[in-house]
């Protein structure tokens, strides 16, 4: 069956569309809705979004691959995104990364076999004053230490 938004999401999409002077501008918001609804932006989802907005499929694919936050591949239940930019690295982000790799037995950009965790390294997240920082889905964990990482992982079921 072809993919489609639920009725509720269709309503949300209509409300978003109404806010923009030009339809194509709603592409990024539509992609966010799609990601929330389908978890992964598959080629079928790309086609659906393109039709919805009346934009060429290639434009949807460009957006999907240009930005780092849209998921073209399935992610684990918890997406661990560790900032490894300057302020976090000055305060030990690379040690945190090694610790996470060791604990999860995966490398950056990989997902654990049980699909629970995906580990990514990311650029500056804007939490430089409380570095190092780890983003877990939409939550931010600041002033990280390896001990805090252990406590956090134990809590994520």
């Amino acid at each position: 069956m072809a993919v489609a938004f639920s009725e509720k999401t269709k309503e949300r999409f209509k409300a978003i569309l109404a806010k923009y002077p030009e339809k194509g501008a709603a592409l990024l918001p539509a992609m966010w809705l799609a990601q929330k609804e389908f978890s992964v932006i598959t080629p079928e989802v790309e086609e659906y979004v393109a039709k919805l907005l009346g934009v060429p499929l290639v434009r949807v694919h460009e957006v999907l691959t240009f930005y780092t936050m849209y998921a073209a591949k399935p992610l684990g239940k918890y997406h661990l995104q560790l900032c490894t930019n300057i302020s976090c690295t000055l305060l030990g982000a690379e040690d945190i990364l090694e610790h996470l790799k060791d604990k999860l037995q995966i490398g950056a950009g990989e997902t654990t076999p049980d699909k629970k965790f995906t580990l990514s390294t990311v650029e500056c997240l804007g939490y430089c004053g409380t570095a190092p920082v780890l983003q877990v889905n939409d939550d931010f964990h600041e002033n990280l230490t390896t001990k805090k990482v252990d406590e956090l992982l134990a809590k994520l079921k």
């Binding site: 434009r59 930005y67 804007g126 430089c128």
Partner: protein, 419 residues
Amino acid sequence: MPEPILSRNFSKKNAHTLGVYIQGGGYEALKKALTEMKPEQIIQEVDKSGLKGRGGAGFPVGKKWSFIPKEAPKPKYLVINADEGEPGTYKDRPIMECDPHAVVEGAIITCFAVGIHWAGIYVRGEYVKSIERLEGAINEAYAKGYLGKNILETGFDLDMVVHRGAGAYICGEETGLLESFEGKKGQPRMKPPFPAIVGLFQGPTVINNVESIAAIPHIVKNGGEWFNGLGAPGIGGGVKLFPVSGHVKKPGVYELPMGTPLREIIYKHAGGIRGDKKLKAVIPGGASAPVLKPEEIDVPMEYANLAKIGSMMGSGAVIVMDEDTDLVKTLRVLMCFYAHESCGKCTPCREGTGWMAKIIKRIEKGEGESADLDTIVSIANGIRGRTLCPLGDAAVGPALSFVTKFRQEFEDYIKVGAG
């Protein structure tokens, strides 16, 4: 210490809600602007305030507004740049999280002054809480009649949306941001035409940083001269938020007069270096600002003064490195960042940032060659000034300053390897 202005609501409970914001004098400036002032008068006050763009370029805000043609065939737009992504910078996030109505109020006044009826706030995708707070503030403002049709019975109409980015440093560059706003990949446009003439949806567009916009209500309420006078004597230009990170005892966002000496920010406000170690290097304005040596930190933190010593004010983000910092590793982190974020449109930046990252990685591994440092300098000079947007130049700043000012450390790495 004078009363904080931009950060006054950072630790106040529920300051993000309309009720608390109004109790603190919120939306008084809006009433003054819309009912007692003419648009030209508002622009004059902003001119007098000496407010310069807080995103990094430091362009005078009033002047930017005055470039917008009065009559245009297409609608005019305001775009607020909340794509805070310059490494070391975390000053716009607390404004949006703790004081979102200041952004909304500042945006309404800006639109009234320039004759705009549609405003969009482009927030980086990771700032989920900022997005929620801004959307909440916008909804409250609509319900109260500060947004929508016939605002405060003045006949002025304005709509406002929050647009969520999706992870791309380049979208902080204003034309990349416009492309992204229009639902495209965020590759910068050729200038001219400048956004003031052909911007969002081809209409004349004002693009301002969050901190600039949040200052507007205060300028309208207390006057441009008052704001200008808050800057250091002889410098002016108001107050600014300085986010400090790295090896300091008290990292944080400090609201201080424009022109505060860098030494004072590091040693007085941020408490000095952790463990009372010696200072080795400091980046004064976000990752793209050329690095400074300890003997250069008496510089006043202000656009012209920093430019005079070959660095830049940028976002005002101060990144402090103590004596134990490995500068080869630090430069590798920065070069990998620019190589990752280069959008790929201009060859010198796309290729050059990648080459510089590769060379510095090689040096860090202990496999550097004696010609490597000169090669980095040559690549950097090949990028500079040859790209559509400032990302290329941004990579050049740290590359050249690190390898020239701390050349010995890099040479030691090449000669004897790491550590």
